[in-house]
């Protein structure tokens, strides 16, 4: 996979919803909007502005709040632009002013001269910081695409995988018919957030939520089943791998051992489900989802069952020992 290049312009033009919106717009240095953002981090440039440039993290986005802006005004009054010139001698990706603040003319001249974009937002610094860090970590999250269907069943995100023609889409269709939701068919884009959460979604918004069913062709799930049958994004919590029934293969009969699949370094619980005429896969997947919820609540059916058997065997053997004793009463 080639490395994704994120530019300042990408950051501004992101479509984010209310609580994530960055409300950024460009005040100056438009030419620099193509500057890449190399690290998902921010910096408050107090120290470099005061002339201290050791360990200066220039690669980060620089956030100017009320304090920094007041200091800039002071510098300007004193006609002291030395530290600013030094600041912009580094190829800083962008300067962001919060609280709708704007710097003085000298700042604009020096920044634009060095080709650094100046952005503004109406958000307070602390709010912008937390939002921008979240957005950046999302942008920089490792990504992959897998061939499969992602559905949400009883609130559990299930990735159905398997070879072409094994019946993934048909299974998903039956699940939708039974009131569950489709996230993505065929091409699932997976993002690893926080290093432990796998978010799956369709690769393309425009042609998302369509399915191809052999014999039917392409169908639109949203218009056929309504918006209640779809979902944009869902965490992947279980992988169901469908495969043709292989008489020589040993399938799990008890369910105490847990198999996992590794996606982007995260281990996801996995079920191998053999497909054979007469086996109702959607119902098996529904049950698997409920079982997974039970496990999350702390009840493991197979382990609990085995535990009961062990207890029963123990009491039985104890009784045998007790009753078969020669000196019994």
């Amino acid at each position: 996979m080639e490395e994704k290049q994120i530019t300042v312009l990408d950051l501004i033009s992101l479509e984010l919803k209310e609580q994530n919106a960055l409300n950024l717009h460009c005040m100056g240095g438009r030419a620099g909007l193509s500057r890449p953002i190399a690290v998902p981090d921010i910096n408050r440039p107090g120290l470099p502005l005061s002339g201290f440039f050791e360990s200066f993290a220039w690669q980060r986005l620089h956030i100017f709040g009320r304090g920094e802006n007041a200091y800039l005004r002071r510098l300007e009054e004193e006609n002291n632009t030395e530290s600013l010139r030094k600041f912009f001698s580094f190829p800083v990706p962008a300067c962001i002013f919060t609280h709708n603040l704007a710097p003085g003319r000298a700042f604009f001249e020096i920044a634009e001269g060095s080709g650094c974009p100046i952005l503004q937002t109406d958000l307070p610094s602390s709010e912008l910081t937390s939002r921008i860090l979240r957005v950046l970590s999302d942008l920089f999250a490792p990504e992959t695409t897998v061939h499969g269907v992602l559905v949400e069943v009883y609130g559990i995100g299930i990735l159905i995988t398997g070879d072409s023609g094994v019946g993934k889409s048909e299974t998903a269709l039956e699940l939708i018919e039974r009131g569950h939701r489709l996230v993505a068919d065929d091409v699932v884009q997976i993002r690893c957030v926080n290093g432990s959460i796998l978010d799956g979604q369709g690769a393309n918004k425009i042609i998302g939520h369509h399915m191809e069913i052999r014999g039917l062709g392409i169908i639109n799930i949203t218009t056929l089943f309504g918006v209640g049958a779809i979902r944009d994004k869902k965490q992947i919590q279980l992988v169901c791998s469908l495969e043709e029934w292989d008489p020589d293969k040993v399938y799990d009969r008890i369910g105490i051992e847990e198999k996992t699949t590794e996606i982007l370094g995260v281990r996801v619980p996995t079920l191998e489900i053999p497909v054979k005429p007469g086996r109702n896969i959607p119902i098996i997947i529904e049950t698997a989802a409920m079982n997974e919820r039970l496990k999350k609540m702390g009840y493991h059916s197979a382990k609990e069952f085995n535990h009961n058997i062990l207890r029963w065997l123990e009491s039985e053997s104890a009784r045998a020992v007790y009753f078969n004793r020669d000196d019994y009463l």
């Binding site: 061939h147 072409s164 369709g202 042609i207």
Partner: protein
């Protein structure tokens, strides 16, 4: 693993009908077949996958095959691209 590179020559790009043709051809071969555009790789036996690729006129596509009849499969897919999917 066999690899072929091809530029899309039909004006309309890979829309529904060419996708179907690719899938039909690909499904005849038991080997694994992928199409690659930039860093996106999709399974050539999946019609939604091919359409999601969004391959328009002039795009360079890599055909990758792996398995018993990988050469024949790659050539068959390549042939579709070269004949512009029997369009135009």
């Amino acid at each position: 693993m066999t690899e072929r590179s091809v530029t899309i020559n039909n004006r309309a790009g890979i829309h529904a009908r060419p996708s179907a043709l690719i899938v039909q051809t690909a499904s005849k071969f038991p080997c694994k077949i992928w199409l690659e555009k930039g860093s996106d790789r999709i399974n050539a036996k999946s019609i939604m996958g091919i359409m999601t690729l969004g391959a328009s006129f002039g795009t360079v596509i890599r055909i990758l095959t792996d398995g018993t009849d990988e050469d024949a499969a790659a050539d068959a897919i390549l042939h579709l691209f070269e004949t512009r999917f029997e369009e135009e």
